[in-house]
């Protein structure tokens, strides 16, 4: 079974992030790494391909400046090949434009039956790209998968909900977004790190994808970031004098947060 994993390359969260005052977006000119939330998808894909008795895992990514370090990490984990779309015209592309580009890149992967994504990226957090990709590709989509099995051309998913999980099934091909707990990502072995350098990594431009240049980039989104401001400073907490009703107040507070 051939599986595509959408793999976002993001600035290292361990480094302090910065916003570009000109573009009002995250600076991405430094080294990019594989988004940790996508490692779960890569691991799940590797396990599903193995369980299916074979098949290739292909990483698909869109990143500036032909950055490939994050993709190499995914290849070192065991993915067979990667497709990167990188083009100066893609700077400023919004979530829908990104989905168009990724869907076009996925379309170039032979025999892709299952597309895995994270629920959302760790730097942008729009959480909309997986469903947009599914809609563009005309595939069904399942979100928030906490476990995935594939049997006889059907994918069986336990879908995380607030209260527990739903059991969902869907015929292949389809798009599934996986939560962080779905599997434990493996560490790339030394041999995997060495092998990753020689695995195929196709680099495409916007023109190669066939996506209309007018629907991506700064102008294509139909949206504009008009201002960025620091988050307001955290306010002091509420202090109650415990007159015997303290427990009730704590319970009510936690209930409000849906913790109890």
């Amino acid at each position: 079974m051939n599986i595509v994993v959408c793999a976002k390359q993001i600035p290292d969260p361990a480094e302090p992030g910065a916003l570009d005052p000109q573009t009002k977006t995250l600076k991405r000119d430094g080294k990019l790494i594989l988004d940790e939330s996508d490692m779960y998808g890569v691991e799940m894909a590797l396990q599903l391909a193995e369980a299916a008795g074979g098949g290739e895992v292909t990483l698909v990514s869109m990143a500036p400046d032909n950055k490939v370090d994050g993709l190499r990490s995914g290849l070192a984990m065991g993915a067979a090949k990667a497709v990167l779309v990188s083009d100066p015209a893609l700077a400023g592309t919004d979530a829908l434009g990104t989905a168009k580009v990724l869907a076009a890149a996925i379309g170039k992967v032979d025999g892709a039956q299952l597309v895995l994504t994270a629920t959302e990226s760790s730097d942008g957090y729009t959480g909309t790209v997986p469903e947009q990709i599914a809609a563009i590709l005309g595939m069904p989509s399942i979100t928030f998968a906490k476990s995935i099995e594939v049997r006889d051309g059907t994918v069986y998913v336990k879908r995380q909900t607030d209260a527990g999980y739903d059991e969902v099934e869907c015929p292949l091909p389809c798009v599934v977004s996986v939560t962080a707990g779905v599997v434990e990502p493996r560490y790339p072995s030394f041999k995997g790190i060495m092998a990753a350098k020689s695995k195929p990594l196709d680099q495409l431009t916007l023109a190669d994808t066939g996506v209309d240049a007018g629907s991506v980039g700064w102008g294509g989104g139909g949206q504009e970031i008009v201002g960025i401001e620091d988050a307001p400073a955290r306010e002091a907490g509420e202090i109650f004098e415990d007159d015997g009703s303290g427990v009730d107040k704590i319970v009510a507070y936690l209930e409000n947060l849906k913790i109890v």
Binding site: A76, R186, Y187, P188, S189, F190, K191, I193, M194, K197
Partner: protein, 331 residues
């Protein structure tokens, strides 16, 4: 000529750093102390999957065919995490014995120069490597030791087989590994002390703003940085089989050991009384420095080897193989 670590070597070091960050936090080091094994089997399994133990094993024996230059950054990272268990011994021993069960981590090896003395990690080892002899199926009796991540045991009995590892090779390879490990251990202690100096306030400001504290940390960092390049060089000399290799290894070892000693003392000084306590992680790293000081030649032995190489008739020998005038002639 590009005289620097390759992308692969740096990627291995980064990969190992990730594994150790996830799998070998101080809690894991403490657990290995607390259960008195000085060993973390789960971490061991992870490091085996990584391929760490096969690094120095020849390719034809299922290994990666690497050398000490490939390993030196990894030894440093293992030291930085105060990794418990005979991991340096496993990497070096698997390479010297070219053994597949050691390369994949299914068997555990430790290394000693003297079976009559308590042997580090013997209680968790399947195999003990000494110069000329490999021992299996031995019995162990725990002996008191300083570093809970490196337990000692008296070894008795065992089935002995010959090997072709000579004493100098064993001492040089382990000394180099320990030099790099000490640099890693020292780096973490400096980080811990610097972090403490930022967090601990006195007279209304962080103690790290006081010049005397800064100087302590700067001195320690200087000593450790001073040891790093000679250690890398010694790894290169060993891999190249240069006649200077024994002296280069001893030079590295002297600098790494004195640097780590200084880092331990200064880190303790910066921490103040809390640095002595069991709860403070610093002690786990400090005791490792003290425990491995004397293994495979103590600092004075290595210093004497450098001095005899410099001053005696046999040397020094340049990398080109030209013998320089001896000390006697110079005098």
């Amino acid at each position: 000529m590009r005289f620097a670590f390759t992308d692969d070597q740096l990627a291995f070091a980064a990969g190992l750093t990730d594994v150790l960050a996830g799998e070998c936090p101080p809690a894991v080091v403490r657990a290995a102390w607390d259960d008195r094994t000085g060993h973390a089997p789960s971490l061991w399994g992870r490091l085996g999957e990584l391929g760490l133990f096969s690094l120095l094993v020849p390719v034809e024996r299922g290994g990666m065919g690497g050398g000490m230059v490939d390993a030196v950054l990894l030894f440093e990272r293992l030291g930085a995490a105060a990794t418990p268990g005979p991991i340096l011994e496993q990497i070096v021993g698997a390479g010297l014995l070219a053994d597949e069960s050691l390369a994949n981590g299914s068997a555990v090896v430790t290394i000693t120069e003297d079976l009559a003395q308590p042997v580090a990690h013997a209680a968790v080892a399947d195999v003990i490597l000494t110069a000329g002899a490999t021992v299996r199926e031995f019995a162990t009796t725990p002996a008191p030791g300083l570093d809970g991540g490196r337990t000692l045991a008296v070894v008795s009995g065992g089935a002995v087989s010959d090997n072709d590892v000579d004493a100098d090779t064993l001492r040089d390879h382990m000394s180099l590994a320990i030099s790099a490990q000490l640099i890693g251990v020292a780096s973490t202690m400096i980080d811990q002390a610097a972090e403490y100096a930022r967090a601990r306030h006195q007279f209304g400001k962080p103690i790290g703003t006081f010049q005397a504290v800064k100087h302590h940390l700067a001195d320690a960092l200087l000593a450790v940085e001073f040891a790093r390049a000679p250690t890398w060089r010694a790894a290169w000399s060993l891999d190249q089989g240069l006649p200077t290799a024994p002296a280069d290894v001893s030079m590295a070892r002297v600098l790494a050991a004195t640097g780590a000693q200084r880092a331990a003392r200064r880190a303790l000084q910066v921490h103040g009384a809390i640095g002595y306590t069991w709860e403070c992680d610093l002690q786990l790293w400090m005791k490792k420095v003290w425990a491995i000081q004397a293994a495979f030649g103590d600092t004075s032995w290595h210093r004497r080897r450098v001095s005899s190489w410099l001053l005696d008739g046999d040397g020094p020998v340049t990398p080109d193989g030209v013998t320089m005038p001896s000390f006697e002639l110079l005098r």
